[in-house]
Assembly symmetry: C2
Homo-oligomer: 424 residues x 2
């Protein structure tokens, strides 16, 4: 009998505290190595332990699943994902069977020191090689806030916004896995009067986003019909689309954001599968403007993921500055992907599509400093008594995402990065 | 004595007609295979023959040059380029010595059937794996034309244009090597009145561009100072940034072009090295607005490359519709690259930076149908008596680029692709 790996009653013999993002019901995919070894292996995670899939495989754990040799010891997990959902689902199912309390895989449990590694003894890599990264702009509240602040408060949305899940291409090369740091970017800043000046950005900002990883490639000329879009999504990650607002504001007409964004982006290390998210499926906002048939969806197409953003000053404690939710997004992922490919644009396994800033209906749910501080007219208070209108040198920004239902809590792990001073 | 591979007096024993793009003074880099074999090898070209660098290497042709094993039989030439200019320059120099009339490499010439292959017996691949593709907007005339047609003829340039080499990120996955075809894209089209409709684009257009290939990677946080920018550029290609104007016009605010561009782009197969282009170095237009110091260049920083665009209807002859020149560009490549990295954005070997549409001062030099037909108010006549306001199904668009000086002519080979009817 095959058990349901999402069963809320499942318990594992491997320890996992109740507030862990990684109970047996999660079992995400990532890429790790033991510290001091630069030998990446495909990994999963339970509680505070990393599951070394390569070592498990060597112990015969995946017998009966058709897996190429060395599939768990590549430089990324693109090849593993490309095997298709029936295969990666079988791997996750097997992990669940191995890790559950009444597991029949006694031998594997007895040899668990070979394949379960304390998270602190591991290093996490970018799990996928991202060919192309697309950023959408799918939060009605975010688009409305931006339009109100910088264009016309009485008519904040552009005419296309409710017809098109607006998106644009971002830079792949500067996406890093959680835990990195980056220097405050230099660029052209435009004073109110006078010509532009060169200097470090004074307005570094985060953007709270969730991204999906493409799990199935398409050929140029192929559309992904909206009914099939979920089949092409492998899983989700948290994503911080770091932005330098002053650089962005001067450069972005008419071709969109460029240097205001491409200096750094941060991704959480664990890809939470669509299978693991299934119990948390939810409906999104009602779309009050009819969409073209290729964008029509029925039934709940998003997920109830609570999102939090924390700012942690150097040497200080993290303060929560934003509470939002993935299901606030106006456009869902199926609509984004159907739209992205309606013109035949080809997708490749490992491509990343991010949501755009996820702001909700209330001021504390706004997903960027620009909105939280309403264009600099107010500030955010931190626990240490300091205030912020933008991210300061030494600040670490941490995104977290949590799903809760029927006593089960799964999450994404931290998506965290630190802003260093501009290079001298 | 080491001869100069650009010497106009050099002649080769390998045949090359006077109107070939590939005399001994060119020796570009590409990736080819023999037809029927899917075994790519790094290649160069002379006249109508492909030079198989892997077979040459097996014959010991590159002795004394420090090359890793199998460097010529990878899936791309990124690794070869990453060895650095001293190495790739030595390879080109050696090719010149092997191919010149008075070559001392007698044995290699005697065995030339092993490594010289008629172009018609070969297949050309994308020479590089492109991580990120950036498109600039560096033609003053193009930006002025677009601004005049769609914004304000009395004030066509946006305020940032003469301060910033404006650019944006494009899609890498849909870039194909010359000789491919693609289906007319579907998308949202916005009639003058009423809501958007779904259908095939009615306004497929070409964009005449030249791209440069990054030859030297940088780390996140590193700037490329403008004085060092040329060291980071491996060579140039022709590039057609296919555009669907009706899709683009409706979608592009506020984040820039997306589906109007990412359905297809075309690149020429041979990367012409900066070394080969050196004799054709030229000055660009005077920049009449002071730029910030990080964008200041001295001396000639562009190249005299005559550019032509032909439209060839199905079964018909090609008609030239545009004559332009690379040196018309207002912003040069050094400025583009210094700007791109001023914020610490990292570059990777194989990345592509394209110029944006290259329009010149006269109407016949405009690098897109949108400009040649001035927003649909006139049309272009072809040799078969037909007229065009945009690219029709079955049309092949061919870009060519030629440098001429001191009796030497080098070029890029065709950058060609065919528009097929929209998929039913």
């Amino acid at each position: 009998m095959i058990s349901n790996p999402n069963d809320p009653a499942l318990r594992s013999w491997a320890p996992s505290s109740p507030d862990s993002d990684f109970p047996i019901q999660n079992l995400p995919f990532g890429l790790s190595s033991r510290i001091g070894e630069d030998k990446p292996f495909a990994a999963s995670r339970i509680g505070d332990q990393v599951i070394d899939l390569a070592s498990l495989d060597a112990l015969g754990a995946f017998s009966g699943i058709d897996l190429p040799a060395d599939i768990f010891t590549q430089k990324d997990i693109n090849g593993l994902i490309a095997l298709g959902k029936p295969t990666t689902r079988a791997v996750r199912q097997r992990l669940s069977e191995i890790l559950c309390l009444d597991s029949a895989y006694i031998q594997l449990r007895e040899h668990s020191t070979k394949w379960l590694i304390d998270i602190h003894s591991t290093h996490q890599y970018m799990p996928v090689s991202i060919g192309d990264y697309t950023d959408f702009y799918s939060s009605l509240e975010h688009a409305t806030n931006v339009g109100s602040m910088f264009r016309d408060p009485s008519n904040p949305l552009l005419p296309n916004w409710k017809h098109i899940p607006v998106g644009y291409h971002g830079r792949s090369s500067s996406i890093r896995v959680s835990g990195h740091s980056f220097h405050r970017p230099y660029g052209q800043l435009k004073p109110q009067d006078g010509p532009p000046v060169y200097g470090p950005s004074k307005m570094v900002d985060f953007e709270l986003e969730v991204g999906f990883i493409i799990g199935k490639s398409t050929e140029m000329g192929d559309q992904i019909p909206i009914q099939q879009a979920e089949d092409h999504i492998f899983g989700l990650v948290l994503f911080n689309d770091w932005s330098a607002r002053d650089i962005q504001r001067w450069e972005y007409v008419p071709l969109g954001p460029f240097l205001g964004k491409n200096f750094a982006s941060t991704m959480s290390p664990w890809i939470v599968t669509m299978d693991a998210l299934e119990p948390f499926r939810a409906g999104g906002p009602k779309q009050d403007t009819p969409v073209l048939p290729y964008l029509e969806t029925t039934g709940p197409k998003t997920y109830d993921i609570e999102l939090d953003v924390f700012i942690q000053p150097e040497g200080g404690e993290p303060s929560r500055v934003c509470q939002s939710n993935f299901r606030y997004l106006y456009w869902n992922m199926c609509q984004q992907l159907a739209h992205h490919t309606v013109n035949g644009c080809n997708m490749q396994v490992g491509d990343l599509c991010a949501s755009g800033t996820i702001s909700g209906p209330t001021p504390e749910s706004y997903g960027s400093m620009m909105e939280l501080c309403w264009g600099g007219t107010k500030s955010v208070a931190l626990a240490d008594g300091s205030e912020r209108k933008s991210i300061q040198d030494g600040d670490t920004v941490i995104l977290r995402g949590t799903c809760r239902k029927n006593g089960v809590r799964i999450g994404f792990g931290d998506c965290s990065a630190t802003t260093l001073p501009a290079k001298s």
